[in-house]
Symmetry: C2
Subunit: 217 residues, 2 copies
């Protein structure tokens, strides 16, 4: 599919994948400040993660640092962006143009990180046939036909929980291989389908709970 900078053929652990974007943003920031080389120790000082952990995480990426100097900063940024999939455009559909779905269609930031939503599906006659941020909204019935032309394999799920499973099943039947699930519903999928759960509401719950502990201390 894509040419990726894979050094290590082992499966990359999810915690590593979640930390790599932190190193990427630190490196970008240091480059803006004029740095040419960056070491794991320097990154460590900035983001308060153990330098040995950073070096270990970076061992999954095909880059070699120079002793006492560190990594070439341009190269590190390039290799990380490539490894994380941000330099490739991954086409996606969005399902459910409600409040959150509409908001995501308007977030052009996703494009800079490799996700290009090329179409959305809904059944609301007020919005079917219109577009948001240049992205056309189709009737859900058109999905099976569209996906054969568009060759999309990522679906962003922002429907009400009552139909989350039904729409997921339909997506998978149509050929979607990865579901980015923004609903607070735990969807079930066949084993070979990737699910990434991003429930803003679950994150809110964690934050409220921790805040309550701090405020009542």
């Amino acid at each position: 599919m894509a040419t990726r900078a894979f050094k290590n053929i082992d499966k990359v652990p999810e915690p590593t994948l979640r930390r790599l974007p932190w190193y990427l943003s630190s490196a970008k920031l240091m480059r803006e400040e004029g740095e040419i080389y960056v070491s794991s120790t320097q990154i460590s000082k900035r983001i308060n993660i153990d330098a040995s952990q950073i070096a270990k995480d970076l061992s999954y990426v095909a880059i070699t640092g120079r002793t006492r100097v560190g990594y070439d900063i341009d190269l590190l940024i390039h290799v990380l962006e490539d490894f994380l999939g941000f330099t490739n455009l991954h086409k996606a559909y969005l399902f459910g143009v409600g409040s959150l779905g509409g908001a995501l269609l308007r977030d052009s930031g996703l494009l800079h990180f490799g996700l290009k939503i090329i179409g959305a599906f809904d059944i609301n006659p007020d919005i079917v046939g219109t577009e948001i941020n240049g992205i056309p909204i189709y009737h859900s019935d058109e999905f099976e036909k569209r996906i054969q032309e568009d060759k999309v394999n990522i679906g962003v799920l922002t429907v009400p929980i009552t139909i989350a499973q039904e729409i997921t099943d339909k997506m998978v039947d149509g050929g979607i291989r990865a579901v980015w699930n923004f609903t607070p519903f735990r969807i079930r999928v066949p084993e070979n389908i990737v699910v990434q759960n991003t429930s803003l509401y679950a994150h809110l719950a964690v934050m409220f709970n921790r805040l309550n502990e701090v405020v009542n201390k």
Copy 2:
């Protein structure tokens, strides 16, 4: 602060807090289907989590089930929503009205889960003084004055990474107690400040990587 249905005074583990919204959405769905009682076994079948795990998670919440019958479904929903903080309105400010920030201001869904963004801050003269979705956008310089009137303790961070730490420091100095960090930057805060990281881009990286593995298999 709020009246919460705390049964257990221990700190609720984060994995539990992340699973509880799944049980809540399952219970809501079953109620729509006409159920009056719900057991952990029933929830387990739907979302594929061990029933004993569900029972253990629910033990943090002040609710008692009836043997062989389960939990009263209305009560379970009410208690979970209360416990998760969704029934209280938590006032928040948003910092950085770019693409993602603007999208979040337009997402009225947050309101149903207890987060009310009452003001946003930016320095862009084109948008300062305007509003999005009824939420006023102020100049960043007004923050210190505003927070004294508004008594807000949650800040949503959607600024560019180059100023993420600077704005965080400013928020904390002004009295913000919890930061919902949407930037891919790892911010540092004093010990008593809550940080909830929700980097959409880190989630994208995980999804792309897993998708790549599946597609290349």
